[in-house]
C-alpha cells in the first residue's frame, strides 16, 4: 500500500483522539497492524483513512492522491474500500445473501443476477454457503463476522480496513475469523487492522504501529516492534498483554 499521513489531529468533544500523527507506509507493506491500549487512537485513525470522518487538521494521501474532505468524493473513496467493524455490521432485516448483494446492486451497479452470483461465490469462499438464506440473528457471532467480511470483500476492494474484528467474539469464534483473515493476508490482500490479538498481529503484519494517547509511539516491522521495543510504555504494554 502507499499511504502517507501528515499531521493528523482529531478531537471528540473534550477528548483529543489523535494528536499530530504522521506516518508513511510504502509499497512493500501489505498488512499494517495498529496496536496499543484502548482509547489510544486506533479506531479514529482507521476511520480517517477510511473516509468515515475528516480530520480536524492534517492530510491523508493514498496512492499519491490527497483525500478530499467533501462528502461526495469521500463516498467514492469508501466505495473502493472494504470495512469490518467490531460487531453489528450486518443489516438484521436482510439475509446473509441479501446483505452482500445490497451494496453490489445499489453501490456498484451490478444486476440482481450478477450480484446474487457474486454473493453466493463469496459465501462459499468463507464456507458459509449453507447459511445464505439465514438472517444474522440465526448465525453465530463468528459466522456473522465472516458474512460481514464477505460483504466487505465482494466488490474486490484494494484495501480492507478491519477495526478490532474479533473483540466481540469468544475464543473459538475469534479463531475462526482470524483464520479467514490470515487466508486473505496470504492471498496478498492489502489490509490495515487494529487488534488486541498480539500473536496474530505479529504473525500477519508486515508493519506494526503502536498508538497511545493519540500519538504514534513506535512503528516498524513486526519483529522489531515486538522483540526490541524502544519506549518504556510499549515495553510495559507488551509485557502486560503477553504475560498470560
Amino acid at each position: 500500500m502507499n499511504i502517507e499521513l501528515r499531521g493528523l489531529s482529531r478531537r471528540y468533544g473534550a477528548t483529543q483522539a489523535l494528536r499530530d500523527v504522521s506516518l508513511r507506509v510504502g509499497n512493500g507493506v501489505r498488512v499494517l497492524a495498529l496496536i496499543g491500549p484502548s482509547g489510544g487512537g486506533k479506531s479514529t485513525l482507521l476511520r480517517l483513512i477510511g473516509g468515515l470522518e475528516v480530520p480536524d487538521a492534517g492530510e491523508i494521501e493514498i496512492d499519491q492522491t490527497l483525500l478530499d474532505r467533501r462528502e461526495d468524493p469521500l463516498r467514492s473513496h469508501r466505495r473502493r474500500l472494504g470495512f469490518l467493524f467490531q460487531s453489528f455490521n450486518l443489516f438484521p432485516h436482510l439475509t446473509a445473501l441479501e446483505n452482500i448483494a445490497l451494496p453490489l446492486v445499489h453501490v456498484h451497479g451490478k444486476s440482481a443476477a450478477e450480484a446474487d452470483e457474486t454473493a453466493r461465490a463469496c459465501l462459499s469462499r468463507f464456507r458459509l454457503a449453507d447459511h445464505a438464506e439465514k438472517h444474522p440473528a440465526q448465525l453465530s457471532g463468528g459466522q456473522q463476522q465472516r458474512v460481514a467480511l464477505a460483504r466487505a470483500l465482494a466488490h474486490r476492494p484494494r484495501l480492507l480496513l478491519l477495526d478490532e474484528p474479533t473483540s466481540a467474539l469468544d475464543p473459538e469464534m475469534t479463531a475462526e475469523v482470524l483464520e479467514v483473515i490470515e487466508e486473505l493476508c496470504r492471498e496478498g490482500q492489502e489490509i490495515i487492522l487494529s487488534t488486541h490479538e498480539m500473536g496474530f498481529a505479529r504473525a500477519v503484519a508486515d508493519e506494526v504501529v503502536f498508538l497511545s494517547g493519540g500519538r504514534i509511539l513506535e512503528a516498524g516491522t513486526a519483529a522489531k516492534l515486538f522483540d526490541t521495543p524502544q519506549t518504556t510504555e510499549v515495553k510495559a504494554f507488551l509485557s502486560r498483554v503477553m504475560r498470560y
Binding site: G50, L52, R75, S76, R78, R79, F83, F85, S87, F88, N89, L90, F91, P92, H93, L102, P103, H106, V107, H135, A137, Q138, R151, A152
Partner: protein
Amino acid sequence: MRTLLTSLVIAILGATFCFFFYILIAHDYRWEAVVPYAGNLFSGWAMTLAVSAVALILSVLIGAGLTVGQLSPSRVARWLARAYVELVRGTPLLTQILIGYYLVAPVLHWENKFGVGVVILAAFAGAYLSEIFRAGILSIPRSQWESARAIGLTGAQTYRHVVIPQAIRRVLPATAGQFANLVKDSSLLYVIGLGEFTMQAREANAQTYATFESYLPLALGYLALTLPISLISRWLEHRTRYEH
C-alpha cells in the same frame, strides 16, 4: 410467585369481564324502538368507514412529510414541523374541526363536509403519526447508519434500504393504535353535521330515548373497524420478523 401473579391477573380480568357481561345482558332492552333507525345507523357506519379509510391514507402521507421536516438538516423546516406537531397535539380536536370547517373552509370556498372532515382528521392524526415515525427512525442504532455509510450507500439509499425497512416493523404496533384512534376520533365530525356513525346513534337516541339500544351498536360498529386494524398489524408484525 409467578404462577400466583398469573392466577391473580386471570382472576381479576375474568371477574371483570363476567361482571360487565352480566350487566350488559341483564339490562332490559327495547330493541324494537331503534329498529326503524337501523338503516341510518348502517349508513352512518359506512360513512365512518369511508371517512376513516381516506383519512388514514392521507394521515400517513402527512405524518411522513412532517417526519421528513422534523429530521431535516434545515433548521427552519425542523422548527416549522415541530411547531405544527406541538400545536395540533396540544389542542382539542373539537376546536380544530370547528376552526377548519367554519373559518378556514369558507375562505377556500370548500363546502364538501366529507372532504373537509377527511383533511382535518388526517391533519390531526398526521401529527401523532409523525412522532411515532420519528421515534422509529431514531431507534435504529448508530451502527446501522455507520455500516450503511461504510459500504458506500448515499443518505437516501440508507433510508430506503436500511433504516425504513427496520423502522416500519418497530412502529407497527404504535401506528395501529393511532389508526384505531383515528377511527374513533372521526366521531367528533358530528359537530359539522357529517352523517357519520356517532351522529346517527345520537339521532336515534334523541328520537327514541333508547340510549343503550343506540349506543351499544355504536360500540360494536367501531370495534368492527378497529379490531381488523389490530389484527392486520399483528399479522404484519409476525410476517416481517427477522429474529427467530
